[in-house]
């Protein structure tokens, strides 16, 4: 379908990108927890023009039973993009790209979840991208962490993700769609922040080893900002609870070994 998209001359000029950001600036990001009523946990994220909703169900019984593992929960993750989420309407059927992304997202979140607490169950993570604009897998991971916490699923930490990339020879943080398409490289990363354990790392493009190291560092800085936003979104939901607890009540509650 002939399209009038003109390729821009510069993606970054004098340190300013097409959308007005500087090299290390995140797009405006907003997260909200418990946006759905049926799901056990849910979250919505808007990261730039990305708009993604995530629902978590579980831990729950897995059918057929032979897929279940006797010693831990199975994690299932499905990432899908709505037909209207991109410029050209996408077919509703899952594309190979979505299948790969589902897998790497699952592998990014799983190390943070205490799966051994729930043998013979499944924890299902459903991601629907309502609008995509570059970096949707990272935004999905950020929202999925919140949805898992909202579902009360015990985790070692949240998982925070952002992409670094290369445009016009410069390493920048958080590529949007046009920077991803027209730039020279894209590197999404997810990290368990406290332990500094990287659980997702992909790269496509051309980076020298120095550029690669710079990209990793910029991405790690970026995830620190994301982590802050995630924690605020979780706490905000309960901010209006007064928490003066009757001391006698705490004694009544069971104190168990973990």
């Amino acid at each position: 379908m002939p399209n009038n998209k003109k390729k821009p001359k510069h993606l970054i000029k004098d340190g300013i990108r097409l959308d007005g950001r500087t090299a290390k600036e995140l797009r405006p990001t907003h997260m909200e927890v418990e946006v759905l009523h049926r799901a056990d946990g849910s979250a919505l994220i808007e990261m730039g023009r990305n708009k993604i909703v995530v629902a978590v169900y579980g831990p729950r019984e897995l059918h057929p039973k032979h897929f279940a593992r006797p010693d831990r929960a199975v994690i299932r993750c499905i990432y899908r993009m709505a037909t209207f989420s991109v410029d050209e309407r996408k077919s509703p059927a899952p594309a190979r790209r979505e299948i790969e992304i589902s897998k790497v997202i699952r592998e990014a979140l799983e190390p943070a979840i205490f799966v051994e607490y729930f043998p013979r169950t499944t924890i299902d993570i459903y991601i629907e991208v309502l609008q995509a604009d570059g970096g949707s897998r990272c935004a999905s991971i950020n929202a999925a962490s919140l949805a898992l916490a909202n579902a009360g699923i015990p985790m070692r930490d949240l998982v925070s993700a952002v992409a670094a990339g290369k445009i016009d020879g410069q390493i920048v943080l958080d590529l949007n769609d046009i920077e991803d398409k027209e730039g020279e490289g894209d590197m999404p990363m997810a990290i368990i922040p406290r332990a500094k354990k990287i659980t997702l790392l992909q790269l496509d493009g051309t980076f020298t080893p120095t550029e690669f190291e710079e990209a990793i560092n910029i991405a790690i800085d970026g995830t620190e900002q994301i982590y802050q936003l995630q924690r605020e979104a979780l706490v905000k939901k309960y901010a209006d609870i007064r928490h003066e607890v009757e001391p006698e009540l705490i004694e009544e509650e069971e104190v168990e070994e973990d």
Binding site: L36, R60, Y126, E128
Partner: protein
């Protein structure tokens, strides 16, 4: 925390005994819709879109348009196609995979209302039929259920109407040499006859009672369901009875009248939301 959707006998009896006293389990009157909201322009990349809340039910509707070939048996008609996705986010009972019979029925009922009302000009507009037999506008109406708490029919019909009414399509210009259609940056509204746009009202029959806008708990005990799609100029353009149950014929006429009243309220809300945008 489970994917069981077994409703307990106690809950069923509770809903029914409340109805015997003219009450509903969430406090509404039997002819009352739940609180509802429409937000248009929810998805900027779509040509038109709406997010609808109906009680706890949430749907997102997006319209995307393109240029393509018409169906061989209707060469001078633009193409309009509707899909509904009951995605697993929305309910522990929705499984991943292609649309099942419920998703297909939902899409076809919403589609029927829009198509039979002829609210979209699919034939006479030069922005819809570029070259008869070769190049026409394709209009995709895609509805995603995000949160299922009953009555997807009305939520989707409302979302579809709001999305279509705020859809802006790129103007097309025919290149007479190549026979290709170029889409320009300039946008125009989708050619629509406002007064023909339908929305719907759905009833559930529980024993001898009919309730409007069933929530999930009521759907789980209902014996029958019926949806009426009605336009602003009060024509009935689609009706669908669902569930393996029956309705008494006198009740059908009563419900239809009630639907007309309810729909004129919904149409007013639709008008004001669309005008705001």
């Amino acid at each position: 925390m489970t994917s069981h959707e077994v409703i307990s006998v106690i809950e069923r009896r509770h809903i029914i005994s409340l109805l015997e006293h003219g009450k509903r389990f969430d406090g509404r009157a039997v002819t009352e819709f739940r609180p509802h909201e429409i937000e248009v322009g929810f998805i900027k990349k779509a040509d038109g879109s709406a997010h609808v809340r109906l009680g706890n039910t949430q749907v997102v509707v997006g319209v995307k348009t393109d240029v393509g070939t018409p169906f061989p048996d209707t060469p001078d008609t633009a193409v309009f196609t509707t899909v509904a996705e009951l995605i697993p986010l929305a309910s522990p009972t929705f499984e991943p995979g292609p649309p099942n019979e419920n998703a297909v029925e939902l899409a076809r009922v919403v589609d029927r209302g829009v198509r039979e009302s002829k609210c979209i000009d699919l034939t006479t507009s030069a922005d819809m039929v570029f070259i008869a037999g070769e190049k026409v506008r394709i209009v995709f109406l895609d509805m995603y259920i995000l949160d299922y708490d009953g009555n997807l029919f009305d939520a989707c019909a409302l979302g579809a109407a709001a999305a279509l009414l705020t859809t802006k399509i790129k103007k097309g210009s025919v290149n007479t040499e190549t026979g290709e259609v170029e889409l320009l940056d300039e946008r125009i509204p989708l050619p629509l006859a406002r007064e023909k746009v339908p929305v719907s009202t759905t009833f559930a029959r529980i024993n001898q009672y009919q309730v409007i806008d069933p929530c999930l708990a009521e759907e789980r005990v209902m014996d029958g369901r019926i949806t009426f799609s009605i336009t602003e100029e009060e024509n009935i353009v689609a009706v669908q009875k669902g569930q393996p149950g029956y309705f008494h014929y006198e009740d059908i006429l009563t419900m239809c009248k009630l639907a007309q009243e309810k729909i004129s309220e919904l149409q007013k809300l639709l008008r004001s939301e669309v005008e705001k945008s």
